[in-house]
Symmetry: C2
């Protein structure tokens, strides 16, 4: 069993395709039709075309290797059997009402598992909104507007497709995007531990973010996280929520937090406690160099936000090293009467020399990570030139926390991003991103 | 001493006004010139006009009641003396380098305090970027683009003007705004306890948010917070940060957290631990009705985000009451096979009946606060009609957590806001807003 046909299918059958807007089989068609491969709408009760593709009566009439099953749950076993006979290797089952419902649902899912096993079919789901690989124009999902999700270098693997979608749109809104996103749902035979290694091999994925409600497979998840080279960020949820409600979602087994804490306590793996932190940590681990230590140099143009940053970083185990005599001298020379030339360095206001102050701190041998805070002023702009030189000459993460009117700072923000300098809004998000970098190397020699 | 001339000055003198772009006296002029009152640029070394206003040599030649002092710190005592002699009642001192620097700076601030006392001048600052009252077109600040800050019903009182500005732009970016915003800086004679009662009386301010680094006046702050009717949200920072760095900012005295915890532990007052929570709590307390209790009814169109919400609320002391038999029956009737009809109610997907499910839960007598989560779908939209009826007939806070592409949902989001239904992004922000509502009534009978 392999996931390769999920990534590069030659032909896609949409079983239960529909010409009626609003139907799941129509939404799925509207997303999949942009893919550069054979597209087969399958529906014995329909004729003519949908999105320019001719309906066929059965998956047996297609050369599909991937099938998106848009039929009601009770029809799934029969349709999956037909897929198996037709040589389909991979299926996405959108319908819910399986193990998470208990009773008949559980029996139905067991039957699906047996059929998948018999024909060696990789099944994503059931009970999922599917997946998306934007750079490949591949949208195995019925979610409207999923094609608006941006292309990026963070891979999302979420137990809940609803969370995967929320995260993907949020990432897009921030001007970023995803390398791919997966909603695992009930995980009949496609688990976290199956998807993670594929993303680890994917050259477009530079960080993997996980949303975990619970999996029977926690040991294998632990092992896989240990083996991969790509940085991983994990958000484990559902420990405090009503266990009945959690189980009713994707049939997550109950585990105690400690099980996951142990599984996720390893170098290269960061744990977080909100969706925003999950995305920010993913972005920063994907874009910034790996730091050599937890020594943070803070440069702020406004002391107040600098204090908030400092508060957060103290909690995260950051070290604020003394700057070298050379750096202090350079900073003192840059502007007389600068507010605070220890670490944090506080320039009191944005100023033309701000970029040089950042440069001095970034080149300091005592500093492993640089965190900058600056409210944007049009007449000064952001120190893009200095950051360009730094990105070429200094292999340290530099995180730039921005504030001010979005329109005014958008262009320079994008320039900084292009240089590998992640930009974040609000003091706490900047600080939490640095905390993620520190956690990513904790436990390493 | 009164703050009234800070709110409705008849004439404003900009002492140190300049025709040179980039100078603080030019930036301040560019902001103040839109105000509908007398504007006097004061500078003995300049002649001609700036922004259409004629330079005068001295504040004595003006009828100003408010002066913005844009001169270097060593000139401040002399200029303030001139203001006093000219009958100016209120001054904003932007320059830094006073008590927070120690030594000569402390002496200078003491001198300013003496002069302010002698002439009964209300001084905002020193060491501040000033203040803004957008609805009055009144911008007593040198911050470029501060005039882009939106008009809203939340008043910001921040010890750090940098934080006040960050918060104001953030609020604007979210489609909200402020009733007024103040950076207190070194608080020579204008403290939290002076500004809060004025905002409490201000009919445009429906919630007050505080950013506190430290004040010698913690007892008076406590008392004032107790006395006012307007809901207050407080973010106390700087307890973990390097105390030297904190003191070097606005000369905040060191107190232990417990002092503030005690001061802020009262009904109507909410404490938070990030700038985003501060603004979200302010928005929700300003816009939503006060809840009668901590019983939360959650309605979600996607279980995964619902579980995250549930996790956060369990931590916040929320109660998830059983729905009445009547509500359960109504919800069951609305759609057969709905995913989870307990509380949280999970519809599994957005659906045409979603608004009616929200309506059923909101009208349930066991429910005090409603939290909704729904990923936007164009074909269904958000349930604006049902929310309109609820806002007229049910006096409970309803918080709507939105997700999806911003452009698609913007219009309906604004419609919900207009109905008094605050909208927030990400599951954790929705849940934290509800937590703020619960904290605001804790301790009440």
């Amino acid at each position: 069993m392999s996931l390769s046909d999920l990534f590069e299918p030659d032909g896609i059958a949409i079983v239960g395709a529909s010409a009626t807007p609003g139907k799941i089989g129509n939404d799925a068609m509207s997303n999949v039709e942009v893919y550069d491969g054979e597209i087969y709408p399958v529906n014995p009760s329909s004729s003519g075309t949908v999105y320019g593709y001719e309906f066929v009566d059965s998956v047996a009439e297609t050369d599909a290797d991937l099938a998106l099953l848009c039929v009601p749950r009770r029809l799934q076993p029969q349709v999956l059997e037909e897929c198996g006979e037709a040589g389909v290797s991979t299926a996405v089952i959108f319908a819910g009402g399986f193990t998470e419902m208990g009773g008949e649902g559980r029996e139905l899912q067991d039957e699906i598992a047996r059929i998948a096993d018999k024909y060696n079919i990789t099944v994503l789901g059931p009970n999922t909104a599917g997946y998306a690989i934007p750079h490949a124009d591949l949208y195995g999902s019925f979610v409207p507007r999923i094609r608006e999700v941006g292309i990026g270098n963070v891979g999302i693997v979420a137990q809940s497709a609803g969370v995967a979608i929320t995260l993907s749109f949020h990432m897009t809104q921030e001007g970023y995007g995803v390398s791919s996103m997966f909603g695992l749902g009930n995980r009949v035979n496609t688990e976290f531990a199956d998807v993670i290694p594929v993303l680890d091999e994917d050259p477009r994925t530079e960080a993997i973010v996980l949303h975990v409600e619970g999996t029977a497979d926690v040991d294998r998840l632990h092992k896989i996280c240990e083996e991969v080279d790509t940085p991983i960020v994990a958000y484990k949820v559902g420990e405090r929520a009503d266990p009945d409600f959690v189980r009713a979602h994707t049939a997550a087994p109950s585990h105690v937090d400690a099980t996951y804490e142990e599984a996720f306590d390893q170098p290269g793996l960061v744990t977080v406690s909100s969706t925003t932190e999950l995305l920010d940590a993913g972005r920063v681990l994907a874009d910034a160099p790996t730091p050599e230590g937890a020594n943070v140099g803070v440069v702020t143009a406004q002391a107040g936000p600098g204090i908030i940053v400092n508060d957060y970083l103290e909690d995260a185990g950051a070290v604020f090293p003394d700057l070298t005599a050379e750096t202090r001298e350079r900073v003192d020379d840059l502007l007389e009467g600068i507010t605070y030339t220890e670490n944090p360095v506080d320039t009191g206001r944005p100023m033309p020399e701000f970029g040089q102050v950042v440069d001095a701190v970034a080149r300091d041998e005592n500093v492993d990570i640089v965190l900058v805070y600056e409210i944007y002023e049009d007449s000064l702009g952001y120190p893009v030139e200095e950051l360009e030189a730094l990105s070429e000459e200094v292999d340290k993460p530099i995180i730039f926390t921005v504030a001010g009117p979005h329109e005014a700072l958008r262009e320079e923000r994008e320039q900084m991003e292009a240089l590998g300098v992640p930009t974040l809004e609000t003091p706490e998000r900047g600080a939490q991103a640095v905390a993620a970098l520190i956690e990513s190397i904790s436990g390493e020699e």
